[in-house]
């Protein structure tokens, strides 16, 4: 007797086994009482077979060292206050630590720095960066008036922050559950009909130069918030671009930075595919399989102006995008100004609501 494999289908709603109902010709679930056509179950099976596990395939990065001549022009600097390790060339005169504002950083031998693959040169000057900072301060609503007195342009430092830049080809297979709702009425009842769908989207999407900062000293939130950078201005690394600026050494490897890149790519891929699901009331992702291929990593230096301001015994750090002038940071809050704003809004809205209550005849 020939053995035959019996195919069992599971209910897509509750997971129970489906049984063939000869009367209707459909597959029936005894648990949730739903019926499904065999074509539907075959489609679901085919879609399920295409699912793969999340797989992130990044190529290993081959680091490059500075050549002997190139290294001659650089010094290392160490900050005794925060422990930052940066490099600079001989043209650096007075040097301020870009991460804590300490002006007594120690010069030491240049060592341990990788040669970057590319660099984005500074596009804005220190004065322009400082103006951007001052403009940003005007937009901080609860900033204490005396705060800006402590901000000095000569405390601003230009630093190249090391970044790992990730390129990849992303393949995704994402399932969604979706609903469509319609309603109607007759003389006795109101009806609501809900149609349930399984949405499958699969395809590819490419990403390039997703930045993840390679420095523990550079706050990830600050570096993220400074984006976007204009990569069209990227050039192969040349030490001449470092002249007059500091450059941070990487201390977070590309392997350690990969999870961050993976997360951003996965979320963006899911969002991009979800945008293609239209015409439904509620769309929820139920499963997602994302894999990368052609994963490429490069090491680059991106320009950032850093400014540290001491106010009431706290250091407030600000980063300005060295290309666009975008300023990010955390500002101190003047509680008095915040309370005044709160009170003002409360009084104004109370007055409006009072008039509304009068008009409505509530009293």
């Amino acid at each position: 007797m020939e053995n035959q494999n019996v195919k069992n289908y599971k209910c897509p709603c509750c997971g129970s086994q489906l049984f063939f109902d000869a009367a209707s010709g459909n597959l029936h679930c005894n648990s949730c009482k739903n019926d499904f056509s065999t074509e539907t179950m075959q489609q679901l099976e085919e879609a399920g077979a295409a699912e793969v596990e999340n797989k992130y395939d990044w190529e290993a990065y081959t680091p490059r060292e500075f050549g002997g001549v190139e290294a001659d022009g650089f010094n290392g600097y160490s900050c005794p206050s925060c422990g930052a390790e940066v490099i600079g060339d001989d043209t650096m005169a007075a040097t301020i630590c870009p991460y804590c504002g300490n002006s007594e950083i120690i010069k030491k031998q240049f060592e341990g720095a990788l040669r970057p693959d590319l660099i984005l040169p500074f596009r804005i000057t220190k004065e322009q960066a400082f103006n951007s900072f001052e403009l940003a301060c005007k937009e901080a609503p609860f900033l204490p008036k005396e705060f800006k007195k402590n901000s000095k342009i000569d405390k601003m430092t230009g630093v190249y922050v090391p970044f790992w830049l990730y390129d990849c080809k992303c393949r995704a297979n994402i399932n969604f559950s979706a609903e469509r709702v319609s309603s109607w009425s007759d003389s006795k009842y109101d009806y609501v009909k809900t149609d349930y769908y399984r949405i499958i989207r699969a395809g590819t999407i490419d990403f390039e130069k997703i930045p993840v900062d390679g420095s523990k000293k550079a706050d990830d939130a600050y570096m993220d918030a400074l984006e976007p950078f204009d990569y069209s201005a990227a050039v192969p690394f040349d030490p001449v671009y470092l002249s007059g600026f500091l450059a941070d050494k990487y201390d977070v490897s590309e392997k350690e930075s990969e999870p961050r890149a993976n997360s951003r790519v996965k979320k963006s891929t899911e969002a991009a595919f979800a945008e293609t699901v239209r015409g439904y009331m509620a769309v929820m992702p139920t499963s997602s399989a994302v894999s990368f291929s052609d994963g490429k990593v490069r090491y680059g230096l991106l320009p950032v102006w850093m400014l540290n301001i001491k106010y009431k015994d706290l250091i407030y750090q600000y980063a300005i995008n060295g290309q666009t002038g975008k300023t990010v940071g955390r500002y101190p809050i003047c509680k008095r100004r915040r309370a005044a704003f709160f009170s003002g809004v409360l009084a104004a809205s109370f007055a409006v609501c009072f008039c509304a209550a009068k008009i409505l005849g509530l009293f």
């Binding site: 739903n34 609503p141 349930y196 499958i200 590819t204 999407i205 993220d224 979320k267 940071g329 955390r330």
Partner: protein, 408 residues
């Protein structure tokens, strides 16, 4: 001459003494052989009934006993009144409230029949007003009511006002939704409406029904049980059935009362919230209050604006909640929300979750796009029934009614 004048004065004095004596009743106004009252309550009721004698010259009496030797309560009341010296004035006029606890019967009869303002209709009315307390064996309050209603009728007579009696009690609570006190309070409200506006505003409740159509049932109760005041039987009835949880308002004649279909819709909606919560006292008191307000406005040539009145009358509790939301919750929410929104600008260092700007333009390629239909569900909810503004309907009696209905 002196002797003649003295004799004249003596005769006048004697005559003055005799008249009050002949007008004075031989019997106490309250004879409680059945022992239905405590000594204190009996004394109080006696005092009140004596006041009626002195004020209005009517003998308004109460007689209770445990066994009735006569054939009927009326016969016994007649026998007692006529043979026991009740009555005042030339015609021996008076009113007897007779109760026999043995048979459970009572009667209110006036004498001489047909010769006083206390007609048979008035006697039925008095009995009707006392009935709720009698049903509850609250005899003190029953007799108190007897005193109050009778006094009210005598006052009307003195003021030359017309008596307006309906053919039915305005409140019939077969479903037993109200306590005795609540029943009396609401009854009094509805009686007052009848008296003041000569229109019937009635309530009828029951537990079971032989007609699931509440509107038709309300119409039939109104038509076949003699509801309505005046020549045209004007009025409105509020019908509630507990088994079907339906209610209906029926008005008659359609278009000739201040209770339009819009008014009925409004009343139905207003009362339904209390009905649904099981607060029957509030249901019917709101019904009576609002009906009276509609009549009061109509008497002044105005119409109640249901839209604005709804805001102030649909529960004082909801009114205060709306005020609190408008004057406290909304301003606070706005102040907190705007302050929080502004405060967000004080920290611009925010992690990026996505990599939208790093997508290679034009690189997205959808290789599979399947929208697979799984199954459908359909739910239905019953609609509220209402006959708002839809004109009149004809009852089984052939009369044209207005009204509204719904469920709770």
């Amino acid at each position: 001459m002196k002797k003649l004048s003295s004799l004249f004065i003596l005769l006048v004095f004697a005559f003055a003494l005799v008249i009050p004596f002949t007008a004075h009743c031989e019997n106490p106004p309250l004879t409680d052989n059945a022992g239905l009252l405590t000594a204190e309550n009996a004394e109080h009721i006696s005092t009140l009934l004596s006041e009626i004698r002195e004020t209005y010259g009517y003998d308004v009496a109460v007689y209770t006993e445990n066994d009735n030797p006569a054939e009927s309560a009326t016969a016994r009341a007649d026998e007692l009144f006529l043979n026991n010296g009740y009555g005042m004035g030339e015609n021996n006029r008076g009113l007897m409230f007779y109760i026999c606890t043995g048979s459970g019967k009572y009667n209110v009869v006036s004498y001489p029949e047909g010769e006083t303002v206390l007609t048979t209709e008035a006697c039925d009315y008095i009995a009707e007003r006392c009935a709720p307390y009698l049903n509850d064996s609250d005899f003190y309050n029953a007799f108190l009511k007897y005193y109050l209603v009778t006094t009210d009728l005598f006052e009307k007579e003195l003021d030359g006002e017309e008596f307006r009696f309906g053919k039915n009690p305005p409140l019939i609570d077969n479903a037993g939704l109200l306590t005795t006190q609540e029943f009396v309070e609401i009854s009094d409200m509805l009686y007052n409406i009848r008296d003041e506006y000569d229109i019937d505003v009635a309530v009828y409740t029951e537990n079971e029904t032989d007609n699931s159509d509440a509107q038709a049932k309300a119409d039939d109760i109104y038509d076949y049980n003699g509801y309505g005041m005046g020549e045209n039987d004007r009025g409105m009835i509020y019908y509630v059935c507990m088994s079907t949880r339906n209610y209906a308002l029926s008005t008659y004649p359609y278009g000739e009362t201040p209770f339009s279909n819009e008014a009925c819709d409004y009343l139905g909606g207003l009362c339904r919230q209390y009905l649904s919560e099981g607060d029957y006292y509030s249901t019917f008191s709101k019904y009576a209050e609002t009906a009276e307000l509609i009549l009061e406005k109509d008497a002044g040539g105005e119409t109640l604006d249901f839209d604005s009145y709804a805001v102030s009358s649909s529960g004082e509790g909801k009114h205060y909640i709306a005020l609190i939301i408008l004057l406290v919750v909304i301003p606070l929410a706005l102040a907190f929300g705007l302050t929080a929104h502004k405060q967000k600008k004080m920290n611009t260092a925010v992690m990026q979750t996505f990599a939208e700007q790093y997508k290679k333009p034009g690189s997205m390629n959808i290789e599979q796009a399947s929208d697979i239909f799984l199954y459908s569900t359909v739910s239905k909810t019953r609609r509220q029934e209402s006959s708002s503004g839809s004109g009149s309907h004809t009852s089984s009696s052939g009369r044209s009614h207005g009204g509204s209905s719904g469920s709770f």
